[in-house]
Amino acid sequence: MNSGAFYLSVGMAVFLIGLHGLLVLQDNLRRVIAVNLMGAGVFLVLVALATRTDPVDPVLQALAVTGLVVAISATAFALRLVSARIRHQQHKTKPDDGRLSSHKDKPR
C-alpha cells in the first residue's frame, strides 16, 4: 500500500465522517462544519490521486485549489444563512421590544 492509496482511504474516511455528521447532527453550525469536512475529504482524494504520476498531476491540484476558494465562499454564505435564520427566530419569539410585530401585544 503506497502513500497515495493510504491518503485516498483517509480522504474517504474524512468524507464519511462529514457525511455522517451532516445526517445526524441538528446544530446548523455543525452541519456547515460537516459539509466543509466532506469537501476536505474530496480534496484529499483528489490530491492522493494526483500522486499517481511522478511529477504530481497539476490538473488535479489546480482543481483542488479552485475548490478550496469555492468552499470558503460557500461557507461564508451558509454561515450568513444560519445567523439570519437565528435572527428570524429571535424576532418571532421576542415580540415585545419595540419591534414591528409587537402591535399584537398592545392592549386595544
Partner: protein, 321 residues
C-alpha cells in the same frame, strides 16, 4: 519506516480532529478543532507534495475559516451546548454510509484496473504544452491558461456568494416606531484593541502584504499565484478591519465595487475578445500571453482579496452609519 509512521500519525490526527470538530460537546471546542484541522490539513498537503494547495490551505483553511466561524458563533446568542442525535436517523445514515463505503472500495481497489494502475493522460499533455502557456509553473499554467474557464467561473462564484451575503444583510435592520435602526443585540461592540496588539499588527500587516505580493510574483515560476496571494491579502484586510485600523471596506464605496467586479469583468472581456478576434474562447495570442496572464492575475488577486475580506468581515458598517 519513518514515512509510514508519519503517514499514520497524520491520519490519526486528521480523523480524530474531524470527529471531534463535529461531536465535541461544546460548539466552541468544535470550532477550535476545525481551525486546527485546517492547519494539519496544510501539513498533509505538504506531505503529499502539493505546495500550491498547502499555501492556499494555510491562508484560507487556517486563517479565514476560523474568523468566519467565530463571527457566526458570536452571532448565535445561546451557545448550543449539546449535539442532538436523532435516534431514528442513526440507522439510515449508518446504512447509507456503509453503502457509500462499499461503492468507494469497489471503485478504488479492484485489482489490475483500479484507479491506481491507470495513468492519466493529462499530466503528459500539460508537460507537452507548458512551453506555449506563458508561465513555467504547471499548476499556474493549468489555472490561468489550460483551464482558465474554471478560474473565470470561480470568480463569478465568489461574486455570487458576496451578493448572497449582501442580500441577507438587510435582515439585521429592525423597523421600529422611530425608524430603521439596528437592534441592540446586533450592534457590533467596538473594543479598543490593546497597545501590544496594535504594535504587532503594525509589523505584521506590511509583512502580510509583502508576502502576498511575493507569492503573486513568484506564481509564474513556482508555487503561488492569484488565489494564495488574494487569500493572504484578505486575511490582512480582515484583521486590520477588526482592529479598526483600516477605513471600513464598504460596498457603497465605488473603489470597492470596482475592485470586486473588476476581476471577473476583465476576465470576461478577455474571454470574449479572444473568441471574437483570436483563435477561440480563452486561447491567448501567442506573443504577449505572459503579459496577459500577469495582468489578469494581478487584477484577480485584488478582486479575490477584497471579495474574501468582505465575505469574512461582513459589511455591517453599512448599517451603523
Amino acid at each position: 519506516m519513518a514515512e509510514l509512521v508519519l503517514d499514520i500519525t497524520l491520519a490519526v490526527l486528521l480523523l480524530s480532529m474531524a470527529w471531534g470538530a463535529l461531536h465535541a460537546p461544546i460548539i466552541n471546542n468544535g470550532i477550535g478543532l476545525f481551525v486546527a484541522f485546517g492547519i494539519v490539513l496544510a501539513l498533509t498537503w505538504a506531505r503529499l507534495g502539493a505546495p500550491d494547495l498547502a499555501l492556499a490551505e494555510a491562508a484560507i483553511g487556517a486563517g479565514l475559516t476560523g474568523v468566519l466561524l467565530l463571527h457566526a458563533a458570536r452571532a448565535i446568542p445561546v451557545p448550543t451546548a449539546t449535539t442532538v442525535m436523532r435516534p431514528l436517523q442513526m440507522m439510515p445514515s449508518i446504512l447509507l454510509i456503509l453503502l457509500v463505503l462499499g461503492l468507494l472500495t469497489v471503485i478504488t481497489s479492484s485489482g489490475p484496473d483500479s484507479v491506481f494502475q491507470q495513468t492519466p493522460p493529462l499530466p503528459d499533455l500539460v508537460e507537452e504544452r507548458i512551453a506555449d502557456s506563458g508561465v513555467e509553473h504547471p499548476v499556474t499554467a493549468v489555472l490561468m491558461n489550460f483551464r482558465a474557464w474554471d478560474t473565470l467561473l470561480e470568480l463569478f462564484v465568489l461574486l455570487l456568494a458576496l451578493f448572497g451575503v449582501r442580500q441577507l444583510f438587510p435582515g439585521q435592520r429592525v423597523i421600529t416606531r422611530t425608524g430603521t435602526q439596528l437592534s441592540a443585540a446586533d450592534k457590533p461592540v467596538k473594543v479598543q484593541p490593546w497597545p501590544p496588539l496594535m504594535a504587532w499588527m503594525g509589523v505584521l500587516a506590511p509583512l502580510l502584504v509583502l508576502t502576498g505580493g511575493y507569492l503573486l510574483w513568484h506564481g509564474s515560476t513556482a508555487p503561488g499565484g492569484a488565489f494564495q496571494a488574494g487569500a493572504i491579502l484578505a486575511a490582512a484586510a480582515a484583521v486590520l478591519h477588526l482592529i479598526q485600523n483600516l477605513p471600513a471596506l464598504r460596498w457603497s464605496l465605488w473603489p470597492v465595487r470596482a475592485l470586486i467586479c473588476g476581476g471577473a469583468l476583465l476576465f470576461l472581456v478577455v474571454a470574449i475578445s479572444t473568441a471574437w478576434l483570436g483563435a477561440g474562447w480563452l486561447h491567448y495570442p501567442q506573443p504577449g500571453n505572459k503579459l496577459l496572464i500577469v495582468t489578469i492575475e494581478v487584477i484577480a488577486t485584488l478582486s479575490i482579496a477584497v471579495t474574501l475580506a468582505l465575505l469574512v468581515t461582513g459589511d455591517s458598517d453599512d448599517f451603523t452609519r
